[in-house]
Amino acid sequence: MSGLLVLIPVALGLGLLGLATFFWAMRKGQFDDLDGAAHRILIDDEDSER
């Protein structure tokens, strides 16, 4: 049973980490333009010649 004392905080911590990451991603606008990234990959980068 002593394993629970470690595992439960670990499980909660990981869950909270995921939640925090999701909130961070939302605030950073990661979900604002869901289709754009699929198209941007096709853009030739002219600047790369430098």
Binding site: G15, H39, R40
Partner: protein
């Protein structure tokens, strides 16, 4: 991937942000072109294209104003409009709140479920108490955070002495939480934290989908809105031109209206003569001649020559504003429509709550004690908590709107979809709705040389008929002839010389009943007639509607002979020459007869009728005012999406009814168990997820049903 940043912009460090709607962004090339080319401008710091929303955000020095930036985008070949400060801010913040609540509920559900499964698998004594305490510590903040959308809405409804779906949800969640907390403190065997959190999670999933659907279609419609007559070039006392916004125009001002420009106010022509397109106001597709002293109205488009107009009525006094007022009044009846979920909850909530109360009283009489009776009563509430019911409507509607979006139909909200399913009569406007709204030339009278000359001449002018002719000729694969001495004389036509012969594209010599231009090569004169063709699939659309049991009619403001021809072609009943008031009255008359009319129209003159109809659709080419009044907007040149929408809405309504059926069957099976006191938290959790999954799976069938 960020846009290039210029050194000049770095130095000053003081920027403004502007956002524009650019509907023309279609591919990676467009993104690259806008970001790269605008980024080269020395006063622009960064450019970012949002492809999903068709928006461009530009960070620039204050020396550039919106008009400069719009001009710069136009220079790249993109039509742009300034995005008002944040028209959809409310939608976005609502969607964000729901997403965050959903994430928190998901987190809570996973962790509480982990602990609950251990309890169900046989954790005993102090371990069980510890797990209950941990569940409580996780669940209480999660419920307080994720439950806000429901608690707020339920509280609003109760304060207005009404009830909605959120009332039984909130009561169920709060009672389950309260009981579980009591059990935890008292060291009892059953806690329902996982049921409460799971309920919130499923319902939030439905709400989030609903919000995402609305913001997606609103963004689409926002991108379609055109700018017409929002400002005017006013000639000041010193003779200088000044651009003044439509709402700041005053009677007595003189505005210069260029060819191709929309009028921003009512007025009288002081100088010049022209023909105007009044189709938006009257539905009449033929241009009307206007000379000095004639009256012109806001919303009309000046076609041929620039004119000076002395304003007689502006802003809220125009004929246009009068129509907007009619629309406001006409829209009242629609706001009384009660959505199907709220109708269901009117029956559902009292039934469930009295059932729980009866269970409590019954077990008290049977001598079970207050605690035991309360546990059973709350179990009844939890098991009947409308989890599947909360998902039944949004799940089906989200799938349906997604499928309709692929057909080019943007549905504004779920209430519209419910009303589309109920229509029993379709009323179509003619110009711009049944027809394309843009005159197309009949090229059969022209031989090859004539076509080449006609293309060269028409390309040199921006008169709408010339543009239409040029587009049709280019589509027919014609190559332009070489002309010299091209000159356009306002009100007369385009003149040039071709292989030493005088050629011209001009007004026909003889009076024509139809819209036409005359091509003159030397002395040969050929008249090219223009017609506004009926959309190719109009007949088919009406046949499909007819098969669905919906009669079609035409209600047009256009002249009767033009309407009669279209009506004969399509074989439907028609009424011509209807004013906006007539259209509104016709729709209201149909309502009084107990009919549920669907109005399909594009012009400003259709606005009141669109608002008064049981449900309404506008084409993407429609005026702003009509697109805002309509429940749905369709893009493209086909009319078929109208029929597909009605069929899709009916399929959706059927699936919603099936979903309610499932929810009721589930209740009939589960409620006796709950009443008998046999429901444990485990059974509640299984029943709740099973019914939700069935409902969602059933809704997904709509993907293939909407065609």
């Amino acid at each position: 991937m960020n846009a290039p940043v210029t050194p000049a912009a770095f130095e000053t460090g003081h920027f403004e942000d502007s956002r524009f709607t650019v509907p023309g962004i279609r591919c990676a090339g467009c993104i690259a072109k806008i970001e790269r080319e605008l980024g080269k401008h020395s006063a622009i710091d960064s450019v970012r294209v949002n492809f999903s929303a068709k928006r461009v955000a530009i960070r620039h020095l204050p020396e550039l104003d919106d008009d400069n930036l719009i001009a710069a985008l136009a220079g790249l070949g993109f039509e742009a409009q300034r995005l008002d400060d944040n028209p959809v801010a409310e939608d976005v913040s609502e969607a964000r709140l729901l997403q965050r609540s959903l994430a928190v509920a998901g987190f809570g559900m996973m962790n509480v479920m982990l602990l609950s499964v251990s309890v169900w698998s046989g954790a005993e004594g102090s371990t069980r108490d510890l797990f209950h305490w941990l569940s409580a510590i996780i669940a209480l903040p999660v419920i307080a955070y994720s439950g806000r959308p429901f608690f707020a809405s339920a509280w609003m409804a109760l304060r207005n002495r009404r009830t909605n779906m959120d009332v039984p949800i909130s009561i169920g969640v709060l009672l389950a939480t309260g009981l579980s907390l009591y059990e935890t403190v008292a060291g009892g065997g059953h806690s329902y934290f996982e049921s409460a959190v799971m309920l919130l999670f499923f319902l939030l999933a439905g709400r989030t989908l609903d919000a995402a659907m609305r913001s997606r279609t609103r963004a689409g419609i926002g991108a379609l809105l055109s700018r017409m007559g929002r400002s005017a070039q006013v000639i000041g006392p010193d003779g200088r031109l000044q651009s003044i916004a439509a709402e700041d125009l005053r009677p007595g001002m003189v505005m210069l209206v260029a060819a191709g420009e929309a009028l921003a106010a009512d007025g009288i022509i002081e100088q010049g003569s022209t023909s105007i397109d009044n189709a938006m106001l009257t539905g009449e597709s033929r241009p009307e001649a206007r000379v000095i002293g004639d009256e012109v109205h806001a919303g009309a488009t000046n076609l041929t020559a620039p004119v000076r107009v002395r304003i007689t009525a502006a802003a809220s006094d125009t004929v246009l504003a009068e129509i907007a007022r009619l629309m406001d009044e006409a829209g009242q009846s629609r706001s009384r429509y009660v959505r199907i979920a709220d109708r269901a909850s009117r029956l559902y909530a009292p039934a469930v709550h009295s059932l729980a109360l009866l269970a409590f009283i019954g077990w008290m009489i049977a001598g079970a004690g207050v605690h035991q009776s309360l546990v059973i009563a709350i179990a009844v509430l939890i098991i009947t908590c409308p989890c599947a019911m909360g998902l039944a409507v949004p799940a089906a509607q989200v799938v349906t709107t997604g499928a309709l979006l692929k057909h080019g139909m943007l549905i504004k909200d779920g209430s519209a979809l419910e009303r589309f399913a109920e229509v029993d009569l379709a009323v179509f406007d003619k110009t711009g709705t049944l027809t394309m709204g843009a005159p197309a030339p009949d090229l059969s009278s022209l031989d090859d040389d004539a076509r080449r000359v006609a293309l060269a001449l028409s390309s040199a002018s921006c008169h709408p008929l010339s543009t239409g002719l040029a587009v049709a000729l280019r589509d027919a694969g014609v190559v332009s002839a070489e002309l010299s001495d091209i000159a356009e004389r306002s009100g007369e036509g385009v003149f040039a010389s071709w292989r030493g012969i005088d050629v011209a594209l001009e007004r026909p010599d003889t009076a024509q009943s139809e819209i036409a231009v005359q091509l003159r090569i030397g002395t040969t004169r050929t008249v090219v007639n223009f017609t506004d063709p009926v959309r190719t699939d109009a007949g088919q659309t009406m046949a499909v509607l007819d098969a669905t049991g919906i009669e079609s009619r035409i209600l047009s403001g256009d002249a009767s002979d033009a309407v009669a021809r279209v009506a004969r072609e399509l074989g439907v009943h028609a009424r011509a020459g209807a004013s906006p008031q007539d259209k509104l009255e016709t729709l209201e008359h149909l309502h009084r007869q107990g009919r549920r009319p669907l109005m399909v129209g594009d012009g400003i003159n259709d606005g009141p009728a669109l608002a008064a109809a049981h449900a309404s659709i506008a084409p993407g080419s429609a005026s702003d005012i009509s697109q805002q009044a309509a429940d749905a907007v369709f893009t493209g040149s086909n009319l078929m999406p109208v029929a597909v929408t009605v069929r899709g809405a009916r399929a959706c309504a059927k699936v919603v009814r099936q979903n309610f059926g499932f929810a009721i069957v589930y209740n009939v099976l589960a409620v006796p168990l709950a009443l008998a006191g046999l429901v444990t938290p485990l059974i509640a959790a299984i029943a709740m997820s099973a019914s939700s999954i069935i409902v969602v799976a059933n809704s997904l069938r709509l993907r293939s049903l909407v065609r």
